[in-house]
């Protein structure tokens, strides 16, 4: 450069990656390593001076704790149902939006909007509109004579689970829509024309043309959303705090409660380690189906 100082290419490359490496080591690697280390310690946050190494005792504790397994199965139910609904609604809405209609941009904007609404806001709105006594949803259902008794949306284990799933579907279906829409835009129109010429109806065209084209993106999105949904904390904690009883606990809420309410940071961390193991499995599946790594060999 001007001052006769030129960085070699390699130096520029390393210089550019350096901040990332520093941040990654400090803010990602270290906390994760620390989380794993804590899983082997008894750690009361009020008395860090008493922290002691306990070997596998935290893991023994969680595997012997019925609540851990309840949380695990409840998380599985909540994840599966959320994903099914998100995928079905997501594809349906994406197809609706993938039309050349005047004003479609407005609809698209409104339908994607829930994705950016803060979880705190949604949880509060949910508690307001689904309030059994003063909420507008029960009022509407009652005045339409669809129900006689008010529905206790958050007071019975099954309804509370349904309400959290509803919230999750409402907030994250747009994510599926975004991904599917992005893919739909790349489907060559000729494929449809060919199918039309062959005399295929709307349903056939969807099954024969659209769905195969979406297969890859859907698998990726499903794996992704499964990993995330399984580990969600705020959606559940802010709406039900895991209740009533412990009927909407998942592992994230379990970990949080163990860490803070029970003052067992070690047990919370051990739960985190179990979650990490499970998500690594999910990530491997993701890498396989998404085909990352294969194209590295042929740049």
């Amino acid at each position: 450069m001007r001052a006769g100082f030129t960085l070699s290419d390699r130096a520029v490359g390393l210089l550019f990656i350096a901040p990332f490496l520093a941040a990654a080591i400090f803010f990602m690697v270290y906390p994760v390593v620390e989380a794993i280390r804590m899983a082997f310690y008894s750690y009361n946050p009020l008395r860090p001076d008493l922290s002691t190494f306990v070997g596998l005792r935290n893991f023994e504790f969680i595997f012997a704790d019925p609540l851990f397994w309840d949380s695990f199965w409840q998380a599985t139910v909540w994840t599966l149902l959320s994903i099914v609904f998100q995928t079905v609604f997501g594809v349906a809405i994406a197809l609706l939006l993938h039309q050349a209609l005047p004003g479609i941009a407005l609809f698209r904007g409104l339908l994607l909007f829930p994705y950016i609404v803060p979880t705190v806001v949604i949880a509060l709105i949910w508690r307001w509109i689904f309030n059994p006594e003063i909420g507008v949803v029960n009022y509407a259902l009652q005045s339409a004579s669809l129900i006689k008794e008010p529905i206790y949306w958050l007071s019975t284990p099954s309804m509370a689970m349904a309400s959290t799933i509803l919230l999750n579907v409402w907030k994250y279906t747009p994510f599926v829509v975004i991904c599917v829409l992005a893919r739909l835009q790349t489907v060559p129109l000729e494929l449809y024309d060919a199918a039309k010429v062959d005399g295929a109806g709307v349903v056939r065209r969807f099954l024969d043309v659209t769905l195969p084209q979406l297969k890859e993106v859907l698998i990726v999105v499903i794996v992704f959303r499964t990993i995330w949904t399984f580990n969600k904390f705020e959606e559940i904690y802010l709406l039900t705090k895991g209740g009533p009883g412990t009927s909407t606990f998942n592992l994230a809420v379990y970990s949080f409660e163990q860490s803070i309410a029970n003052l067992r940071l070690g047990v919370g961390a051990a739960t985190g380690v179990v979650m990490m193991v499970m998500l690594s499995i999910g990530s491997i599946i993701y890498l396989r189906v998404s085909g990352f790594g294969q194209d590295e060999k042929s740049p």
Binding site: M1, G13, F27, A105, V136, E234
Partner: protein
């Protein structure tokens, strides 16, 4: 009218009808929140509930924006009862803006530099970093939060906005890194090579050729980062302590957890904290679809 035109018209009308119905259901919770926020206390619990307030008022918004205190009677005098959440609303808003912009700026800078380095230079480990980032992206915040919290304690940074900026970098950087990497990879290298042959330095090429081309990716990553930081509750809840330092999500939950829920005020707060994200979203909606297409679904 020909038959084809007739069918097209019918199909369009049907599409609009379905789209409108879906949009109504999706948007209803937000519309209801807006409606509640504009009602005077007497109308909030009115039966039948009103969608459009009869006596619309901006009282709730005024209370939040001017920080109105509460009073009680003692010995015939009005005495202020000290601090109320409403008094801190504007402060929390500013705090949220600061941490959102701060963490986004850092994440974007680091990830753009790193992505350029990873896709344009050859050195050991460059293929591992994206996978590593992907994994980091999938690790849920609940695992990071306590170890990172203990780091902040060591650094004496707890209860500061800086701790939150760093915390959000930690959760947004992996995705930004990955998205920028996917995006950079898809930018043809030929233009840069041409510029280099013309005698431009690496840094000049980066500034004048790469950055402008990468802008859509940068915008998508920035939107993602801002949404995550603005909406987070968990990190704010754990890292921040004093009222002055809270962010919106943590502070607004204080309105709810008291003994007396002022739904009008709460819904007004919900609306106000959604507005910045809504503006951002409307302005940059297109990029979101394009960018997520590149990142989440792999280009």
């Amino acid at each position: 009218m020909t038959r084809i035109e007739f069918w097209t018209l019918t199909r369009r009308l049907a599409s609009y009808a379905v789209l409108s119905a879906v949009t109504f259901i999706v948007c209803f919770p937000l519309v209801w929140a807006l409606s509640t926020s504009l009602k005077p206390k007497s109308e909030i619990f009115a039966t039948p509930p009103t969608l459009i307030p009869h006596a619309a008022t901006t009282e709730n918004y005024k209370a939040l924006l001017t920080g109105r205190p509460q009073y009680f009677q003692s010995g015939g005098q009005q005495v202020t009862s000290g601090t109320t959440p409403a008094q801190f609303f504007t402060r929390w808003f500013v705090n949220s803006v600061i941490v959102t912009l701060g963490s986004t700026l850092i994440s974007i800078t680091i990830s753009t530099l790193a992505a350029y380095s990873l896709t344009r230079f050859r050195y050991w480990g460059r293929t591992v970093v994206p996978y590593f980032s992907l994994l980091g992206y999938m690790v849920p915040s609940i695992i990071f939060v306590f170890p990172l919290f203990l780091v902040m304690v060591q650094l004496n940074l707890t209860d500061s906005l800086l701790s939150l900026v760093l915390g959000y970098v930690c959760i947004t950087l992996p995705f930004c890194m990955w998205l920028m990497w996917a995006f950079m990879r898809s930018i043809p290298i030929e233009i840069e090579e041409a510029a280099l042959i013309d005698g431009a330095s690496r840094l000049q090429v980066f500034r004048q050729v790469v950055l402008p081309t990468a802008l859509p990716g940068i915008i998508a990553a920035a939107i993602f980062s801002m949404i995550v930081s603005w909406n987070d509750y968990l990190f704010g809840r754990v890292f921040l302590n004093s009222l002055d330092n809270l962010t919106l999500t943590v502070g607004v939950m204080l309105f709810f957890e008291g003994t007396h829920v002022d739904w009008g005020l709460l819904m007004a707060a919900s609306v106000l904290m959604t507005v910045p994200m809504a503006i951002l979203f409307m302005a940059l909606q297109r990029h979101l679809v394009a960018g997520f297409g590149a990142g989440a679904v792999k280009g």
